[in-house]
Amino acid sequence: MLELVTQEAKQPFRKRVEELQAVTIRFAGDSGDGMQLAGTQFSISSAIFGNDISTLPDYPAEIRAPAGSLGGVSGFQINFSANPVHTPGDRVNALIAMNPAALKTNLPDVEPGGLVVVNSDAFTKSDLAKAGYTDNPLEDEALNARYRLVKVPLSRMNAEALAGSGLTAKIVDRCKNFFALGLVYWLYDRPLEPTLRWIEEKFAKKPEIADANIRSLKAGYSFGETTDAFAVSYRVAKAKIAPGRYRTITGNEATALGLVTAAKKSGRTLFYGTYPITPASEILHQLSRYKNFGVLTFQAEDEIAGITSAIGAAFGGAMGVTGTSGPGMALKTEAIGLAVMTELPLIIINVQRGGPSTGLPTKTEQADLLQAVVGRNGECPVPVLAAQSPTDCFWTAIEAWQIATRFMTPVIVLSDGYIANGAEPWRIPTEAEIPAIEVPTPQAVPNEQFYPYARNADLARPWALPGTPGLEHRIGGLEKQNITGAVCYEAQNHDKMVRLRAQKVANVAKVIPPVEVSGPPSGDLLVIGWGGTYGAITAACQEVRARGRQVSNLHLRHLNPFPANLGEVLARFKRILVPELNLGQLLLLLRGHFQVNAIGFSKVQGKPFLMSEIEAEILRLLDGE
C-alpha cells in the first residue's frame, strides 16, 4: 500500500501513461453522495473526448435511505472505449467507493487486480458497523493482495481545498464528489471543460457553490497529478465513430424527443397524460419543459386518468400519449381495451421495472411482454414495439405514432429501466431528415352518409374529429356494428368485428421491415432477443464469432405483430436461444407462433445481462454440454 504524501514535498513529475482499449469504472457511494451526478459528468466528458460509451446508473428506490447503510448505496457504471461498445461493461476495472457500504456492495463486481479508490475518511467505526464490517477492510491483507487499493483521505483533502470558502462544513462536504471526479478525470486523462461549463451553468445563481465545486474538481485533478499514490494514468483513445454532431442521451430523453418530433411531423398537438412513476417520470419532466412546442402535459390524479385523458385528447384529434411502468400499466389495462374498441390512435409507453406488484422500482426487467401482447380482457390486439437502446427510443416513439395513426390503434412501446436511465452518444439528426407523418382529417361529403366504422384498405377507420360539421358520431366501449358503429350485440357481427380488429393489427406486419440476421443467414444456432438486451446479445455474438465459432443473432423491435419473415428466418436454424430478463415470455410467443425448438435463457435479478453470461450460454450450447 502506498503512502500519501503532501503536494509540497514533491515536484510535479511526468508519470507513465498507459494506453487501454476500454475501461469500465463505477462510482459508488451513499445515495446523498452525488454519485449519479459524478457518473453522468464522467460519461459526457468521455463522450465529448471521443470515446464510445454506455452507462448503467443503479440507485435505491429510497430517496435518502439511512446514511451509510448497504441499502442506501447508489452506483453509476460507465464503459468507455476506443471501439464501439454495446454494454456498460461486465467487470469493473476501477471502483471509486465513497464509504464502507459502497465498498462492500460493489467490490464483488471488480476484476481481480482492479483499481479500488476509497474515501478512507469514511471508514469510521460507525460507518464500518453500518456496512456490517467487524474489521476495517482497508487493513485486510487479502483484499490488498487481490485489488490495487488506494486509500485517499478524500473528505479531509476536499475540506482543505475549500478552506476559507466561507461555506458551512456540510456544504463543503457535499462537494467531495467533485473532488473524486477530478481525481478520476486525471486518472483517465479526461478534459475538465465540459464539467466546468456545466457547474457554471447549473450554479449560475449561486456563484459561491459553483466556485467551491470547481475548486474541488481541480483539487482532485491536481492531487492525481502530484501524488505518488498513482504512478500511472490511463488513456483510452478516441473511438472510430461515424461523422456527425453528437450528444449523450438517455432512453427517457430520447423517448421525449421522439414524441415531440412525431407530433410536429404529423401536425398534431402532443398531449402527454400521465402519473409519476419510477422509472418513467423523466419523460414527463422532459416534456413539461417543451411548452413553446405546444406540448400539453397533464399530471393526472392516477394512472387511469393518465390514459383516459390521453384517450379523450385523441378523440379530439391530439396525439394522445401516456407513459408508465408495470404497476401503472396494470391500472391502464381496461382503458387500453377502450382504445382498442374505439379504434383511436394512442401511444402507451411502459418503462419496465422489476415486478410483480411494486416489485423493484429502480431495477430493470423485461417481464411485461406478455402483459403488453395479451394482457387484456377479450380479444384485444395491440401492436407492441420495443426499443433496444437509449438512442433507439427516439425512433421507436416516432414509429409508434406512424403505426397508431395509419392503423387507428393504440400502440404499446416497451422500454425498460436499463435503457431509460442509461446513456449513450447520439448522432443528432436534423428535423429535415425525418419524414413527415401524413394524418388525414376527414370532412363530411354532401349527400353522403358518414360511417365512423367504415374501413380503408388497411382496415383503419376514419379519425373524424369533434368540431367537424356533419360527422357527429358516438363511440364507446360497447361492441360496434360493422361500418355504422352503432351499438350491436348481434352474434355474427361480434364475430366479424373481433376478426376485423385482429386482422387490422395483423396488417401492421405489411408495413414493418423484415428482420435481418447478423452472422450466417442459416446454421446451428440463432440468438434472438428483444428490447434492452440488444447490447449484451450483440456483443456476446460478436465475441463468439470473433473466436471463429458460428452463431447468428437477430433482435426484434416488433413483438406484435411479428415481422412477416420471422417464421421463415427461424426455420433456417436448428436451434434458437432466447435470452430474456424474464422467465421465458418471448420464448412462449415464439413457440406458440412458430412451433420452433427454442431454448430460453433467463435472468431476473433486476440487472441487465452481462455480455459474458450470454457468451457462456452460447458456447455451452455450441459445445453440446
Binding site: P243, L257, G312, A444
Partner: protein, 342 residues
C-alpha cells in the same frame, strides 16, 4: 371537395339534437325527462351542434350520449371525467359535458370526479342520482340511505351515504346546483345556467329509477309534499319554503334551523342566499340539509369565478412561445453538450 356547413345557429332546434338510436331506458325512467331538457337547452347556447361532446361512463345514465346527435363518447366505468379532461385540454373550444350517475361518479369514479372539479375545467358534469345501481339490477349505491334493503344488502346497508353536493363543495367547485327530473322548468333553467357557467359546473339531478328504487324522491317530487320538503334557492332572496311560504331557514350559531314565520320572526331574520359568496361555507351548510329534518335545496348553491385549468395550460404555452419563440426541433436535439466527429 365541398363539405357540409354547420346548421345555422338561429334555426337550431331540439329536434336537431335527436340521434337515430332508439332510446332504451325503461319506460317511466327519469332519464327521459333529463334528455328532453338538455335537448331544449342546447339550441339556446349559441354553440354549433358539432362543437358539443357528451362523455359518459357506465350505467343507465351513461347511455345518454347515444341519444344525442352530437359527438359522444360512452367510455368505461367511472372514467368519463378523465376523458373529458383530456378532450377539453386538447380542444378548449368544444362544449364538453360529462353525464354520470351516483355509482359511476361517486363510487368507482369518485377520484376522477373530485379532481376534475378541483381543476375547474370549463366542463359540465351532470350527475343523475337515483340512489341505486340500476344497470346491474338493484344493488345499493353510495348515495343509498343507511339501512336500505337491496339485493346486495338484504339486512340493510351499513355504509353511510355520500352527499354529492358536499363532495363537490369540498373540492371547492365553482358551480354547484341541484334539480329534479320531474320539475322540467327548473331542470332546464338549472342546466342552462350550468352550461353558461365558465368553469366546472356540477349539477346533481334527483332521478327516479322506477324499476329498482321507485319513489325514492317522492317527498320532493310529489307536488303535494314538494313545497314543504324543498327549498328553492334564489340569489339575494330570503330562504323561504312551505306550502304557505310561511317557513324559513335561520342561522343559529353555526347551525341552520327551520323557523316558522310570524310571531316576531320576519323575512329579515332569515338567511339570504348568496351563491356568489367567495367562501363556500353557506353552500356547504345547505348541502348538508336532508329530508325529513330539513327541506332539501334546489337550484344553484354556489356560482363563483375561478381560474380554469385549460385556460391556464394554454396561457403557459402562449407565454412560452412569446418568450422563447416557436420551438425548433433542431434546437431541441442539440441541447446540452454537443460535439462533432469529422
Amino acid at each position: 371537395m365541398s363539405t357540409i356547413p354547420s346548421i345555422p345557429l338561429d334555426v337550431l332546434k331540439p329536434a336537431d339534437f335527436a340521434s337515430d338510436q332508439d332510446v332504451r331506458w325503461c319506460p317511466g325512467c327519469g332519464d327521459y325527462s333529463i334528455l328532453a331538457q338538455i335537448k331544449k337547452v342546447l339550441p339556446k347556447l349559441g354553440i354549433p351542434r358539432e362543437n358539443f361532446v357528451f362523455v359518459s361512463g357506465i350505467g343507465c345514465s351513461s347511455r345518454f350520449p347515444y341519444y344525442l346527435n352530437t359527438y359522444g363518447f360512452h367510455s368505461i366505468h367511472g372514467r368519463a371525467p378523465g376523458i373529458a379532461t383530456g378532450l377539453k385540454i386538447a380542444r378548449p373550444e368544444l362544449s364538453v359535458w360529462v353525464i354520470t350517475g351516483d355509482g359511476d361518479g361517486l363510487s368507482i369514479g369518485g377520484n376522477h370526479l373530485i379532481h376534475a372539479i378541483r381543476r375547474n375545467l370549463d366542463i359540465n358534469i351532470i350527475l343523475f342520482n337515483n340512489r341505486i345501481y340500476g344497470l346491474t339490477k338493484g344493488q345499493f349505491s353510495p348515495t343509498s340511505e343507511l339501512g336500505k334493503m337491496t339485493k346486495s344488502s338484504p339486512f340493510g346497508t351499513i355504509d353511510n351515504p355520500i352527499r354529492p353536493l358536499t363532495v363537490a363543495l369540498g373540492v371547492e367547485a365553482s358551480f354547484v346546483a341541484r334539480s329534479l327530473d320531474v320539475d322540467p322548468t327548473h331542470l332546464a333553467a338549472t342546466l342552462e345556467r350550468a352550461a353558461r357557467h365558465k368553469g366546472t359546473s356540477f349539477v346533481e339531478v334527483y332521478q327516479d329509477c322506477n324499476v329498482f328504487n321507485h319513489g325514492a324522491y317522492d317527498y320532493a317530487a310529489d307536488k303535494s309534499t314538494r313545497p314543504d320538503n324543498v327549498l328553492y334557492l334564489e340569489h339575494g332572496k330570503p330562504m323561504i319554503f312551505g306550502k304557505n311560504r310561511d317557513k324559513g331557514l335561520r342561522l343559529n350559531g353555526l347551525r341552520l334551523e327551520v323557523v316558522q314565520l310570524g310571531n316576531g320572526i320576519t323575512e329579515d331574520d332569515l338567511l339570504f342566499h348568496d351563491e356568489a359568496a367567495p367562501d363556500g361555507t353557506l353552500a356547504y351548510l345547505l348541502s348538508q340539509m336532508r329530508y325529513p329534518e330539513f327541506p332539501e335545496p334546489m337550484g344553484v348553491l354556489r356560482c363563483v369565478d375561478k381560474p380554469r385549468y385549460e385556460a391556464l395550460a394554454h396561457e403557459q404555452i402562449a407565454q412560452a412561445k412569446a418568450k422563447a419563440g416557436e420551438g425548433k426541433l433542431d434546437d431541441l436535439y442539440g441541447e446540452g453538450d454537443v460535439w462533432t466527429v469529422n
